[in-house]
Symmetry: C2
Subunit: 205 residues, 2 copies
């Protein structure tokens, strides 16, 4: 085999791996992880089940592959690539998410499912949320210091921001024409960053 | 059969129906609806599958039974029974929920799952969220008028409150020792209700 043939084969294998992961994400968005079958993923990508198992030896390996592609869907992972994050960048990510309901659906299904029973993604999401709270707290400290203009500390604001990101996604997935996801997120940002109350800032502490 | 015997039988049937619903809620909390099997529900409640089917003719009927028991777990349904709801009542419900992770888990699993694919609970949750936004908007208007002290309208605050209720539950279920669910909710309430900024209230409009 020539160098060029080897390169062509590797590229083809990589493309097929990606196609399988895309199909798995779509299946999880449809049915959640527990109800996803390798047969359904195979049918979606036009392969046989043994064809899938050549790339991912089990359904659990496929889940790990989806989770490892987290940069596609994980706000915290996206932010961790930047050094100078500001709260306004988050608003852009929410607007971006509003354009791709499929990815949001995969994420929402997996995150909520991971909090039930013995789920193979439970540890991943537990660590992911802890990391997200730490990352959000860190960049809020950098931008606002120990207290945000609205009165909360970055430690108090971080879980709230993450909760609204997750919670508003469910409402938006169910009623995209009624729920304006970016607007709801901007409203929280406004509450968090509006100028400190003149009369008695201590009442928020 | 005497009147008393008939009464005893009806009470026994009702108790068994309740026990089946409790078992179904527990199974859904463990596995979600799609991966829940009638066999698992039957095993949990100590009945045979035909025994379950006598009370609920299909898995979908069982789901409907769980959804109809919504007063056990649905904040909006709890609130709709009261005529003079205040924002502070919501805080009490969050504190109550923090004492019963099982119910919260059933609800979180079902709500997120309902937003995926063709789910039998999708219509229920779509309507439930629309009703919750309307109910929250209504009681906020009653308590605060057309604008809340923090600057948002009741229409803007309602989806945010619901989003935080849902979103913080996921973080709390995954890390109950790290995430203080009632405190996070109180922080949002504080932001929404803190006295209007003296310098320029218009900047929030």
């Amino acid at each position: 085999m020539t160098e060029r043939q080897r390169g062509g084969r590797a590229a083809k294998a990589e493309a097929r791996r990606e196609a399988i992961l895309d199909a798995a994400m779509a299946e999880i968005a449809e049915s959640g992880y527990r109800a996803t079958t390798l047969a359904a993923v195979a049918a979606r990508v036009g392969l046989t089940q043994p064809g899938i198992l050549h790339y991912f030896p089990s359904k659990k390996h496929l889940l790990i592959g989806v989770l490892e592609a987290r940069d596609q869907w994980d706000t915290a992972a996206i932010l961790s690539r930047s050094t100078d994050v500001k709260l306004s960048h988050l608003e852009q990510i929410v607007e971006f998410n509003a354009e791709r309901p499929g990815v949001v659906q995969t994420y929402t299904a997996l995150a909520a499912e991971s909090a039930t029973g013995q789920h193979p993604a439970r540890e991943f999401f537990t660590e992911r949320y802890a990391a997200a709270r730490a990352a959000f707290t860190g960049f809020l400290h950098q931008e606002f210091g120990d207290r945000m203009p609205g009165g909360l500390t970055p430690e108090q604001a971080a879980p709230l921001l993450i909760a609204v990101l997750d919670g508003i996604q469910i409402q938006w997935l169910l009623a995209p024409d009624e729920v304006d996801m970016p607007a709801a997120f901007r409203n929280l940002v406004t509450l968090l960053t509006a100028a400190e109350r003149a009369e008695d800032p201590a009442d928020l502490r």
